[in-house]
């Protein structure tokens, strides 16, 4: 086993986790935008959604690009196999991402109601369908329907199958749940307790639904992907699965007690447990019969990529820190600016 390959896979999975947690909530925000109600009634909720995802949605794209690029650099043949067999749902994901990002940007720049409605509907609809297809892609891989080689898998049944249906619906549910949890705290911080209460109810409701969906998903796995099922329920992935279930239950309790900040952590843990449970359950296989060390790029490539990412982090972390610090300081210096005579 090559250590660099393992580290690269771990880094890839950290990126995927970040995408699911932040990008997921971002998609979920769009889902709540869809269910916010009519133009007038839903305005408050939509403003909160816009407020919360506005500064972060572009950074969330970076996580997705990161995952894709590390895939083709680190495990090129696996990337080619996944992309070519699952090109239909992945094309739909790509279209959803275009529609969603562009519509969000355009809605913000629009002032007339009909335009805001049009762009808003596009944004919200694509927020609902895109995570479904992403989840379906994961389901295709999980259930071993993506073989090695280019376009070797079935173009339709690789993503239209029981596991993909379960993971797709679960992905939408997780996105909506994470968003509701994050938005509850955001509304509370704004001092809008009624709105916080609305999202609390939604978080509780979707939390229960996601719990039920996970159980159904587990039964589907037993029938459709017995290897992963065994790893999750009795194998080495069991601790992570338990972590996920316990965090999920604790999250519901915390929501009940209105501990909105703490529930952010446990909700994220519940989702992280599922993701890493999947990774550990499948390890060391990436695709049926394809082990990490067989698929990994050469050591020189993995080394250069990891070093670049480390150097990149050294540049990025202080930049991000400066961004947040300036935002804080900015509020107290509101009056200073370009317009002032200096």
């Amino acid at each position: 086993m090559s250590l660099l390959a393992e580290v690269t896979m771990a880094v890839l999975w950290v990126g995927l986790t970040a995408y699911v947690l932040f990008g997921g909530a971002d998609f979920g925000g769009g889902v709540w935008d869809l269910f916010a109600g009519g133009t007038e009634r839903g305005r408050e909720q939509r403003t909160l959604v816009e407020h919360s995802i506005g500064p972060v949605w572009e950074a969330n794209h970076v996580w997705l690009i990161f995952v894709i690029v590390v895939m083709w650099t680190g495990i090129p043949s696996v990337f080619a196999a996944v992309a070519s067999t699952l090109y239909i749902p992945l094309t739909l994901v790509a279209l959803g991402i275009i529609a969603r990002g562009a519509a969000f940007a355009f809605r913000k720049a629009s002032t007339e109601v009909w335009q805001q409605r049009l762009f808003g509907a596009t944004f919200a609809f694509s927020s609902l369908v895109t995570p479904y297809f992403l989840g379906a892609v994961a389901g295709g891989i999980v259930s071993g329907r993506v073989p090695a080689g280019i376009a070797e898998g079935d173009l339709v049944s690789s993503w239209v199958n029981p596991t993909s249906a379960a993971t797709g619906v679960l992905a939408v549910g997780v996105a909506a749940y994470l968003a509701a949890v994050y938005l509850t705290r955001d509304a509370q911080r704004q001092g809008d307790l009624a709105l916080a209460e609305t999202f609390r109810r939604r978080a509780l409701g979707t939390g229960l639904v996601v719990g039920v969906l996970s159980l159904i998903g587990l039964l589907v796995l037993r029938a459709d992907a017995p290897g992963l099922y065994a790893a999750l329920t009795s194998g080495r992935a069991l601790p992570l699965f338990v972590l996920s279930v316990v965090s999920g239950v604790v999250s519901l309790l915390l929501l009940w007690w209105r501990a909105y900040l703490a529930v952010r952590l446990t909700a994220a843990l519940a989702v992280t447990g599922l993701l890493w449970g999947w990774a550990v359950g499948q390890y060391p296989y990436l695709l049926p019969g394809v082990r990490i060390d067989e698929a990994a790029a050469t050591e020189a490539v993995l080394g250069a990529t990891l070093v670049s990412l480390a150097v990149g982090a050294v540049l990025l972390i202080p930049s991000l820190w400066w961004l947040y610090a300036s935002f804080q300081r900015g509020h107290s210096e509101e009056s200073r600016g370009h317009g002032d005579p200096q």
Binding site: E58, V70, F79, A80, A99, F104, F106, A109, G312, H338
Partner: protein, 456 residues
């Protein structure tokens, strides 16, 4: 390799065509937006700096509007760029499966640059009224650097496709990769410099076009004049430099990709003292109806009137790029470049005599066309390098037909993508027009609050 030959057979012509069209559409679209992302930050900072130094309100308002337009373009560029990273695998798994690891490094670095750009653009937009002006301008500098760096990294990957180095092949498997050598391949210097300058020209002439159009409609106040002058000057100064760099790039192609040069110039037989063809159509292996300048191609390509130019006859016809497309794309690029040079000289001439923008309607009409002309030059240049490399996706090593996804039905994906891009284009143009005109200036997508922004 047997497997890749099987794939080439499996990939029907319509599939290959659909994949190439989809890539051409989404990359050709993204490249325009990306050019604004590279060039606009510097031009905006220039206006902001001028506004800060002189207290000129027009400069300040221009910088503010441009910053917002940058925000919208950056958002659209982010999504259209994300799609491209998908398409690398969806459309070209044969390329990525084998060579993904060789060209992965520059994309990783580009991702980091993009992240930095996103962070500082957020800061720059958010902090407009919140940071002292000098500090605010400092937050713009990383945007400029990261934008240029992004262009550099991405183009190194394309340069590698023209000059694949930094790895060894053993029975079709890539071994012994040196990702840094792949990134700094021989084609990297001319291609990256040419592309980065092109980005500044597209952004500069594109921005100037908008104000030239307004001036043509009679709005000749200081705001519109400056809105024209600042970006136009930047682009006009770069144009002659770009023509020099273009010559360097063409020399590189002449020495390293002679078949591409032969297609660009319509040279079918290897000869000495080869004439330059201007215009013309290739029919049955010769260029017809062209203006011929004797010895000129030998002179231009190798600085010697008797230099030998390699003709297409050196390789079998199955390895010829589509000659007419390559020939015309190259000529259109050169023609647009010289037209833009002439426009800059016209402006300089009048400015030297009268310290003013040429007032004639003809100049303004030409200036309105300068933006589209720069985009045409960009697309034509890109077509030259991409179509001229065919049938290879990795020059001399991997055919495009072997790289394409053999799964059936790519044509439907292309049609869907095309429909989405039509809508995206209409919406982008509409929103940018609003940003150019509306008061108050609309909110950029990265800005947190609508109400927090009392705009100039």
């Amino acid at each position: 390799m047997v497997a890749s030959e099987l794939l080439a057979v499996a990939a029907s012509p319509i599939n290959l065509l659909a994949a190439r069209m989809q890539m051409a559409l989404s990359l050709g679209w993204h490249i325009i937006i990306a050019c604004f992302g590279v060039g606009m930050p510097a031009i905006t900072l220039l206006a902001e700096w001028k506004g800060y130094r002189t207290g000129d309100v027009s400069c300040q308002l221009l910088a503010r509007r441009w910053a917002k337009a940058m925000g919208v373009l950056f958002a659209v560029g982010a999504v259209s760029g994300t799609i491209l990273s998908f398409e690398m695998g969806l459309l070209w798994p044969g390329l990525m499966g084998t060579y993904g690891q060789v060209i992965g490094l520059p994309f990783t670095l580009e991702g980091i640059a993009f992240f930095i750009e996103a962070i500082f653009l957020g800061l720059y937009l958010y902090a407009w009224e919140r940071l002292p002006p000098r500090q605010h301008m400092l937050t713009g500098i990383p945007i400029v650097i990261a934008g240029v760096a992004s262009a550099f990294f991405v183009v190194t990957a394309n340069a590698w496709m023209n000059q694949p180095t930094g790895f060894e092949l053993e029975q079709g498997r890539v071994v012994g990769v040196d990702p840094w050598a792949a990134m700094f391949n021989p084609a990297t210097p001319p291609q990256t410099v040419h592309m980065i300058l092109a980005a500044f020209m597209v952004a500069g002439f594109g921005m100037a076009s908008v104000y030239a159009a307004a001036m043509l409609r009679g709005r000749r106040d200081r705001y519109h004049r400056l809105g024209f002058l600042i970006p136009f000057t930047v682009a006009a100064v770069i144009t002659p430099v770009q023509i020099g760099v273009g010559d360097w790039a063409a020399h590189f192609v002449a020495s390293n990709q002679p078949v591409k040069l032969a297609a660009m110039e319509g040279v079918f037989a290897t000869e000495r003292g080869v004439p330059l063809h201007i215009g013309g159509i290739v029919v049955d292996g010769e260029v017809r109806y062209a203006l011929e300048i004797p010895y000129a191609l030998s002179l231009l390509a190798h600085w010697n009137v008797n230099a030998e130019i390699v003709g297409l006859n050196e390789v079998p016809p199955s390895e010829w790029p589509p000659v007419n497309i390559t020939h015309w794309a190259f000529q259109i690029m050169v023609a647009a470049g010289f037209a833009l040079l002439a426009l800059g000289v016209w402006m300089l001439w009048v400015w030297k005599r009268r310290r003013d923008i040429p007032g004639t309607r003809w100049f303004l009409r030409a200036a309105v066309l300068a933006g589209p002309a720069a985009v045409v030059a960009l697309e034509a240049g890109w077509t030259t390098t991409e179509v001229g490399r065919q049938p290879w996706v990795v020059y001399g090593l991997l055919r495009t037909a072997e790289a394409v996804n053999p799964a059936p039905g790519l044509i439907y994906g292309f049609l869907l993508v095309a429909a989405v891009y039509v809508v995206l284009t209409v919406a982008t143009v509409y929103v940018l027009r609003r940003i150019a005109r509306s008061k108050p200036v609309p909110t950029a997508p990265q800005e947190r609050d609508v109400t927090d922004y009392p705009v100039v």
